[in-house]
């Protein structure tokens, strides 16, 4: 099967007086049509920057310094500004983190859809717009009258659904969802994720889910990529990640999740995520790693295939 999205050797750097900071360091992966891929990691691991760079939405002082991203055969770096604008939403759409801040607070929900359609050159009559919006809202489980409401009149879950509806309004091939439910309580989280799953199935698009909740990943994605200090340190089918994580950091992420099975089983990851501008030599995880040996302090582990469809960047994987 041909990948719908292909990322090769992607690097994102941020200029800093003390030298460039690599927020995304040589990341490669391919996303299959209809696949659900997770990107997990702590704050500062580069997962959100990674997601934004796929849309070429990195702002200065950040910039993409190397690598290729291609969507369905189209190389994105070759597109001019206007073509890229058109591709956002229509080709790759984003469901942002914290929907409360991403909807325009002073215009009604319907007008936010109208903005999107107009910007992508769709000329709809008022009746057509109403019908399209009603249909999109219905798809995400909202009633048509929501179109006439302002964002502050919606609950958190409703706002997040409205964002999903906007994201799918031009039937994109890839949806990037950056922690779409981190601000919602668990009951609403499940409803929103169910909506996202259903919408994705109906559209046949692929999803990249960015987040740090390993429970959510375990229940939602097909494959999981784990990021640490800007690198993709493990990438494997989710069942493999859960039953046999190859990278000690992946194991640590899983153990940090509070269990409902056994009390006292929750373990934090010792130490702090490293500063990107001051990474430890060798493997960036070695100061926090329970398995670290002398070699890890000097030699940076390469990403290698440790099993079919399973890659990891650890000397012991």
């Amino acid at each position: 099967m041909n990948a719908i999205l292909k990322v090769e050797g992607l690097k994102v750097e941020f200029d800093h007086p003390l030298g460039a900071v690599k927020a995304v360091d040589d990341v490669s992966f391919a996303l299959q049509p209809g696949e659900r891929l997770g990107l997990a990691g702590e704050s500062g691991s580069g997962k959100s920057t990674m997601a934004l760079s796929l849309l070429r939405m990195i702002k200065p002082p950040g910039r993409i310094t190397a690598g290729r991203v291609s969507l369905d055969g189209t190389e994105l770096s070759a597109l001019d500004h206007e073509a890229m604008r058109h591709l956002r939403l229509a080709g790759i759409a984003m469901v942002p983190q914290g929907s409360m801040n991403s909807l325009n607070p002073v215009i009604r929900i319907k007008a936010q859809f109208a903005d999107a359609f107009r910007d992508h050159g769709l000329k709809l009559s008022s009746a057509e717009l109403d019908a399209r919006v009603a249909e999109l809202l219905r798809t995400v489980g909202l009633r048509p009258h929501v179109a006439d409401l302002y964002p502050h009149e919606l609950s958190g879950g409703m706002k997040q659904r409205a964002c999903i509806a906007i994201a799918i309004c031009l039937r994109p091939k890839v949806i990037i969802a950056d922690e779409p439910t981190s601000a919602l309580d668990v009951v609403v989280q499940r409803q929103v994720m169910e909506t996202l799953a259903r919408v994705q199935r109906d559209l046949g698009c692929a999803i990249i889910l960015v987040g740090h909740d390993m429970g959510l990943m375990a229940q939602f994605v097909d494959r999981l990529g784990v990021m640490y200090a800007g690198r993709l340190v493990e990438l494997a089918p989710i069942a493999e990640i859960i039953t046999r994580p190859r990278h000690p950091y992946t194991q640590a992420l899983i153990s940090s999740l509070p269990s409902l099975e056994k009390r006292g089983a929750m373990q934090g990851i010792p130490g702090l995520a490293p500063l990107l501008r001051d990474l430890p030599p060798g493997c960036a995880f070695h100061p926090r790693c329970p398995r670290a040996e002398a070699r890890c302090t000097t030699e940076k582990p390469a990403v290698r295939e440790v099993a079919p469809n399973q890659q990891a960047a650890c000397h012991f994987a």
């Binding site: 609403v188 640590a252 999740l257």
Partner: protein, 332 residues
């Protein structure tokens, strides 16, 4: 012995909305324990925290501090209350003034409450408090807030509370804004305060899984009322209120069994909640006709548990005000 704090038939209304409805409980700090208060937004858990902290007065009922009505404390008593009961809030970013070194939030209470007789003694107290929450003073003191991580900043707030040698800490969502990998560290340090320093903690959260990990007792709240209460192990392993059951089944688990999305999930039934009925009736999969008309009392289904659901009608009702009988003071 007089409990440290006692809430008697406490309600809080904001306009036509009831944020907390007729809650009675006491906090006896002679047997230190962590009590989690769990619920979704609007369940009344933060209102309960604010009333206990004396930040808002109840609309009805009263809160007693060492047997005295909180509304009528003398200046000296109020000052003692401000030492005995400490707060840790949700946002470890907003509580700091970015222009001051973080030392400021630690030295201020030492000075205001004359906790130390000399500068050196104050410094030692601060260092000990930081160590009690798992921080290394040399990595913290002298820094500005932006130089520290959210997890470090939140632990400094816990250290500040510890400095006061309180009897009770009310922690309102202390880990909801920090990374999952740091939550465990902060919660473990809270547990240590109870086990090693004898400080009781009320842990307000929407996250049932962390509540299960650190607390001894749990109060599950739903729309201003207590839905279920009891020993955390029993409530989480065998939830008896449909809302608790929904909460638990909604938590995505790290497991190769993928049943989270296929589950029926939250069901809105036809029933609409009336002012008199069960607050959960419109979402309850097992609602009966009487649930729409009568508010179920708490039924004591087990020695250390009560659930406000008519499914447990056969059990004796737990008299209002006897909530503490099902909260066991035995630390795990």
């Amino acid at each position: 012995m007089t409990p440290l704090l006692e809430a008697k038939h406490v309600s809080k209304h904001y306009g036509a909305n009831t944020a907390l409805s007729d809650l009675s409980m006491s906090i006896d700090t002679s047997k230190p324990a962590i009590t989690a208060v769990v619920g979704e937004s609007g369940s009344g858990k933060t209102t309960l925290a604010r009333i206990i902290l004396g930040l808002v007065p109840p609309s009805e009922g009263q809160v007693l501090y060492q047997g005295q009505d909180m509304a009528r404390l003398s200046g000296t008593e109020r000052r003692q209350f401000r030492r005995d009961v400490q707060a840790v809030f949700q946002d470890p970013y907003e509580v700091y003034n970015p222009f001051y070194r973080v030392d400021h939030v630690l030295t201020t209470p030492v000075r205001n409450f004359n906790l130390a007789s000399s500068r050196a003694e104050g410094r030692t107290m601060i260092e000990n408090a930081l160590r009690a929450v798992g921080l290394r003073p040399e990595e913290i003191l002298g820094r500005y807030p932006h130089q520290l991580s959210g997890g470090q900043r939140q632990r400094i707030m816990v250290a500040r509370a510890v400095l006061m040698k309180p009897k009770l800490i009310v922690a309102d969502e202390p880990v909801s804004m920090v990374d999952a990998s740091l939550r465990a560290t902060i919660l473990t340090s809270l547990r240590k305060l109870t086990d090693e320093m004898g400080i009781s903690i009320i842990y307000i959260t929407h996250d049932l899984a962390t509540a299960y990990q650190v607390s001894d007792n749990i109060l599950v709240m739903y729309r201003a009322c207590v839905a279920e209460a009891g020993a955390v192990e029993r409530v989480v392993k065998h939830p008896q209120h449909p809302y608790t059951q929904l909460l638990i089944s909604s938590i995505p688990q790290v497991s190769t069994t993928r049943d989270w999305l296929d589950d029926e999930g939250d069901q809105k039934t036809a029933a609409t909640p009336s002012a008199h009925g069960c607050r959960f009736v419109d979402r309850c999969p097992v609602a009966m006709p009487k649930c729409s008309t009568t508010l179920p009392p708490l039924y004591r289904t087990e020695p250390a548990r009560a659930a406000a659901c008519f499914q447990h009608e056969a059990s004796p009702t737990l008299p209002n005000g006897a909530l503490n009988e099902v909260l066991t003071p035995t630390p795990s």
